[in-house]
């Protein structure tokens, strides 16, 4: 039988499945091959790999001045006027990275990307900000996805009153425009839990789960009607087991794609809150916070271009990387889109 299949495939001009395809199964293999051959996803993955490297190598790329609190950006004095890239460190110079002398042959550490007002070192903030962005993006996305998955699947599986009540609650939450709502809740929470990353993160999670819930609900609704679910019910499988073993694995793919595409916009929202001055305290290594320094120099940005350009470009590339990967993933996993490209 197996031989027969191979012959058929040869006749059709197809190659027999290779080792990797046999290991992963046809579906997953095709998705993986789609990802590896699509230039868009290759660029995205490459960019993400670079960011991951920067995050991991942060202590080597920009050795911290305060070892017990590495997220605190070191500052070179307290002067208000930003200094351009290439200026030498004058006061309280952090330890020199070992590769610096080998690459440039110099003995003194410089402000590679200049300083912002208050003499915060932009390069340090950009490097350590990568860690903040990854951490914040992943934590928010994972928690919103979990909340959304629970609400969406419970709502769709039980239906009836449960569904109606949960969906009305979702509608109340989406009546709040996302960014202003997140700003509001952070402003409410800040006096209670103190300034820092937590108020904006909690706020984004509270107003961010509704999309997942709706998406998963509609997918679970369609899977719920399949025969194998009915069969499982008939033989007396428990609700939880049907949900987690039979329905969710078959309904969850669009949600995962959605989550990967969502990381980018959640990081933007978090950065926007920091930029507006809600969120990380001044001097915390966070891109939005770095960009907020530009607000002091709105009319002289031509002269102090480096305050905007460096953190801004990095933020755009980071979001772009996630969006490219998510976009490619969607194209590969959505069979309706196959052939349209």
């Amino acid at each position: 039988m197996a031989k027969n299949n191979t012959q058929q495939e040869e006749l059709l001009g197809r190659k027999p499945p290779g080792w990797l395809e046999r290991q992963l199964g046809t579906e997953a293999y095709r998705a993986l091959r789609g990802m590896a051959t699509n230039p868009i996803s290759v660029i995205g993955t490459l960019l993400l790999a670079i960011f991951l490297f920067v995050a991991i190598a942060a202590p080597v790329l920009a050795p911290p001045a305060h070892t017990n609190d590495p997220y605190q950006i070191p500052r070179d004095g307290y002067g208000q006027v930003p200094k351009p890239p290439g200026t030498e460190w004058r006061t309280r110079q952090p330890p020199l990275p070992f590769w610096w002398k080998a690459v440039t042959g110099k003995d003194n550490w410089i402000h590679i990307m200049g300083t912002a007002s208050g003499q915060w070192d932009i390069y340090y903030g950009v490097v350590w900000g990568t860690r903040t962005a990854l951490r914040v993006g992943l934590v928010i996305t994972i928690i919103t996805a979990i909340v959304g998955i629970i609400v969406g699947s419970v709502s769709a599986y039980y239906g009836g009153t449960v569904d109606i009540v949960l969906m009305r609650i979702v509608e109340v939450f989406i009546a709040f425009p996302f960014l202003p709502a997140a700003m509001t809740l952070s402003a409410v929470l800040t006096p209670i839990i103190g300034r820092g990353l937590f108020p904006p993160m909690i706020a984004i999670i509270v107003f961010g789960w509704t999309g997942v819930a709706r998406l998963l609900r509609s997918d679970v609704l369609s899977v719920r009607e399949r025969e194998y679910v009915l069969a499982a019910k008939v033989i007396g499988v428990s609700d939880a087991r049907i949900m987690f073993r039979h329905i969710l694995p078959n309904a969850i793919f669009p949600t995962l794609v959605w989550a990967s595409m969502r990381i980018g916009s959640l990081v933007i929202t978090f950065a926007a809150l920091s930029f507006l001055g809600i969120g990380a305290e001044v001097g915390y290594a966070d891109w939005g916070q770095l960009l907020s320094f530009a607000r002091d120099w709105m009319t002289q940005l031509g002269e102090y271009w480096y305050i905007v350009t460096f953190p801004g470009t990095i933020l755009v590339l980071f979001v772009l990387a996630w969006n490219l990967v998510g976009d490619a993933l969607r194209d590969v996993l959505d069979p309706r889109l196959q052939g349209s490209r």
């Binding site: 868009i40 009305r168 609650i169 509608e171 109340v172 939450f173 989406i174 009546a175 709040f176 425009p177 996302f178 960014l179 202003p180 709502a181 700003m183 509001t184 809740l185 952070s186 402003a187 409410v188 929470l189 800040t190 006096p191 209670i192 980018g264 933007i268 950065a271 926007a272 930029f275 507006l276 001055g277 809600i278 960009l291 530009a294 607000r295 709105m298 009319t299 002289q300 940005l301 031509g302 002269e303 271009w305 905007v308 350009t309 801004g312 933020l315 755009v316 979001v319 772009l320 969006n323 490219l324 976009d327 309706r336 889109l337 349209s340 490209r341």
Partner: protein, 354 residues
């Protein structure tokens, strides 16, 4: 259709109730002292007077009672006038603006409305046109450029974009300044000869036949409007393109072509109306984006509208003001969703007959 619309409208009070409960819930994170700003201008410093205020406005009473008072206000026993009550349009006193929140909103609203009105047309039309062009030229260079624009544009945070255009077009080139109008124009607007009919400066300038003021206001609006719109071009372009591609593969399009209809007629008359349906559903998220975008854009361009006041209040943790703006925002959202739903039912017969 009528049935559908009625069912939709019946949900509105329910959702509004949920919205007020959520906002009232957030208010409960404040201490009674902070909440007294809902009713009195100056929170008294001395403890006895403070006790009196809390007693008088029932800030120590059970939560349902407080919720009711928050909705309809309470009567001052000495003067007999009603204080507070969001249903009466009284949102309390803004600490950051040192005036009643309602006055702040009234003063700042026209500026934001003007910005939003100027942004609506490019927001709605730009992306759709790009999407149709991209779909019709499927897999040609123009399609690839449009797709790259869509994904890069969507990855570009509006505040970074705003800072960059401000850097090029103001700081470097000195073409397009931030703010709402120049100082000289502001003096003219404040002068008695200038009639403020609508408080929308561009419109008033035209009504007063002052083209120089109009041009000045437009120059200040260009960058904020572009910053507010480009994100939505990217999103709508993407949706229009894929929906158009899907529609163009349908049998009835092949039929129309084989009948010998001109390609232009096939695209504009047969394909586009159907392809636009998913775009209409973006209406809700576009309004979400505009309400958020306004906060960012007004902050970046120092444009004195509601968004800037909201951001300033949020940074200074003036929760009373912030929550009033949030309430207004959700009101706008609920109305927008109803309009989108009705519009959708109107253009899609499948919903109408359901």
């Amino acid at each position: 259709m009528v049935n559908y619309v009625i069912r939709r409208l019946l949900l509105v009070p329910l959702i509004l109730f949920g919205v007020t409960v959520l906002i009232f819930g957030m208010l409960q994170f404040l201490t009674p002292v902070e909440r007294s700003a809902l009713y009195v201008r100056d929170i008294p410093k001395n403890e006895r007077a403070l006790e009196g205020v809390i007693k008088q406005y029932g800030l120590d009473q059970p939560i349902p009672v407080q919720y009711w008072k928050w909705l309809v206000g309470t009567r001052d026993p000495h003067t007999g006038e009603i204080r507070g009550g969001i249903l009466r349009g009284d949102f309390g006193y803004s600490r950051t603006a040192s005036e009643p929140v309602a006055d702040l909103i009234k003063r700042r609203f026209p500026a934001t409305l003007e910005l939003a009105l100027w942004a609506v047309l490019p927001v709605v039309s730009g992306g759709v046109i790009l999407g149709v062009i991209a779909a019709v030229n499927h897999n040609k260079p123009i399609d690839h450029i449009a797709r790259i624009f869509a994904i890069v544009g969507w990855s570009f945070p509006d505040f970074v974009f705003g800072l960059l255009v401000l850097m090029f077009f103001y700081a470097d080139l000195k073409w397009l300044p931030p703010g709402r109008v120049s100082d000289w124009a502001n003096q003219v607007i404040m002068s008695p000869e200038f009639h403020n009919y609508t408080k929308l400066i561009t419109l008033d300038a035209l009504l007063n036949l002052r083209l120089d003021i109009f041009w000045d206001a437009v120059r200040h609006l260009i960058l904020p409007v572009v910053t507010l719109s480009y994100l939505w071009w990217a999103l709508q372009m993407r949706v229009t393109r894929s929906s158009m591609l899907e529609t163009l593969r349908q049998d009835y399009i092949t039929t129309a072509r084989s009948k010998g209809l001109a390609e232009k007629v096939v695209i504009m008359r047969h394909a586009l109306p159907n392809a636009l349906m998913p775009v209409v559903t973006l209406g809700g998220s576009t309004v979400v984006g505009l309400l958020g975008g306004v906060v960012i854009v007004e902050t970046v361009f120092d444009y004195h509208g509601m968004g800037l006041a909201f951001a300033a209040a949020a940074v200074q943790l003036d929760v009373i003001t912030v929550l009033a703006f949030t309430l207004l925002n959700s009101l706008i959202m609920v109305v927008a969703y109803v309009i989108v739903d009705v519009l959708y039912a109107y253009i899609d017969p499948r919903v109408r007959l359901d």
